[in-house]
Symmetry: C2
């Protein structure tokens, strides 16, 4: 059996990363774990998110994963450095790839970032963008209601439109020409975001950029699977509700029945 | 030191119950634990909610609590029977008291219940109402976006109004004359609910009715504190965000600095 790539998220949003990985690396075995028993991570503290992330990633590595992908912006923002310290395999998140794509896309030098409170509050995108390009200008906007709206399947809905217009209105008076979707759920409302803005911005989808970074990392480490057919196994810490079907359809993922798994606490 | 009443909730919403208990039982010591590291419970499975509830309640009983109050509709709906099986002290929830108040309030015999997906999906209010009054008619409506909106402090907001109008519109064509606020957060938008309905309904606030039930139970068990001044200790499993301040002010609770605590897994 080929060693899998472990992908985890606080819930089902990370399936956007799985969709991108399946397209980019069809020969890989992918094991996904969504921590639906403790979702959402956005809003919780760094210490708690580090603990949850380590519990899950350690379990997946002990089960043979050759690489860990943190398919959650909140955990990437708050726990990636910690995971890189404690895990013996390569770890990739969704932030650095999004940062690189935004730098490549912007012409005005002004980038907008939207995400959960925890992601925006962490300043991780801002730090990454400034490290890559010291004179870049960044406008970060926390959008705490977007995940609940998306999980309700309200992709095309006047309430979602009204909430987006409010969140995005500060951008209208700026010359930001690029917007980073700093949450794995957000690609599902990319169209509504465009409509709420009312003008063109380059949308940076962290999921797609993360998948490319994973491919490059596996290649450079000599860890790519050979030919043959890959696979996808889904697990959750609590039965995912109907959003799994919504996301699966929206992403064109053929999803097998999902396993329900417990995550042991650290040190047990 | 007087033995405390232990009150727990998935987050900060249960503070509405604490507010009611402080008014009704000013001499009691109250210890509150909000499981903000795993919030929300609504949407998660019965098994997971039973486990979380037992972990918290067992810890509070082992620390001397004379009674446990489940200040969370989801946990009351899904875990109360289990807690009564495993705990050596009286346990009260928010559902039965709300049921009794609704039965007393309705004249048309048609009661509406609003709550999280998990509470409504559990059918707990419906079962309780029918057990108390077999020919009662019940219309239950899940309102999954209300908690996120309330936690954003959007008590008076056109987005909240629009969401409420949509959730409550099925009631307009009925003769329901009583509405049970089946979530401890909802008293904070009682006014917006009235506005969205556009006509009078009796609002049943589970928090106030729960506090009265706790007082009766303590009296019947001979467990009431004597005279003197009560106290309130707040704990959370993750630092509560600004909603704690919003709720504290809205409820007139003078809140001491909150402790951050870990909840040990069962059997440890």
């Amino acid at each position: 059996m080929r060693a899998p790539i472990a992908v985890f998220d606080s819930g089902v949003g990370g399936l956007t990363v799985v969709g991108a990985l399946r397209r980019e690396l069809p020969a890989e075995a992918i094991v996904y774990l969504g921590d639906t028993a403790r979702v959402p991570y956005g809003g919780k503290s760094q210490k708690t998110i580090e603990r949850y992330s380590e519990e899950i990633a350690s379990m997946m590595v002990s089960e043979g994963a050759k690489m860990v992908v943190v398919a959650c912006n909140t955990a990437s923002a708050l726990a990636l450095a910690h995971l890189r310290d404690v895990l013996p395999v390569p770890v990739e998140g969704v932030i650095d790839p999004g940062v690189r794509a935004a730098i490549a896309a912007t012409k005005s030098g002004h980038v907008a970032v939207i995400g959960t409170k925890a992601t925006v509050g962490s300043g991780a995108y801002e730090r990454g963008l400034r490290a890559a390009c010291p004179d870049i200008r960044v406008t970060s906007i926390a959008c705490p209601l977007l995940v609940p709206l998306i999980e309700e399947g309200m992709f095309e809905d006047e309430v979602t439109d009204a909430v987006l217009r409010r969140y995005l209105s500060p951008l209208r008076e700026t010359d930001a020409d690029t917007i980073v979707l700093g949450c794995t759920h957000y690609p599902l409302v990319a169209e509504a975001i465009g409509k709420a803005l009312g003008y063109e911005l380059a949308l940076v989808d962290s999921a797609a950029n993360c998948a490319s970074a994973v491919a490059r990392r596996l290649a450079s480490e000599g860890l790519l699977a050979g030919d043959g057919e890959g696979s996808l196994d889904l697990g959750f810490t609590d039965p995912p509700d109907r959003f799994l079907g919504v996301a699966g359809r929206a992403l064109g993922l053929a999803t097998a029945p999902a396993a329900i798994r417990a995550v042991p606490p650290l040190g047990s």
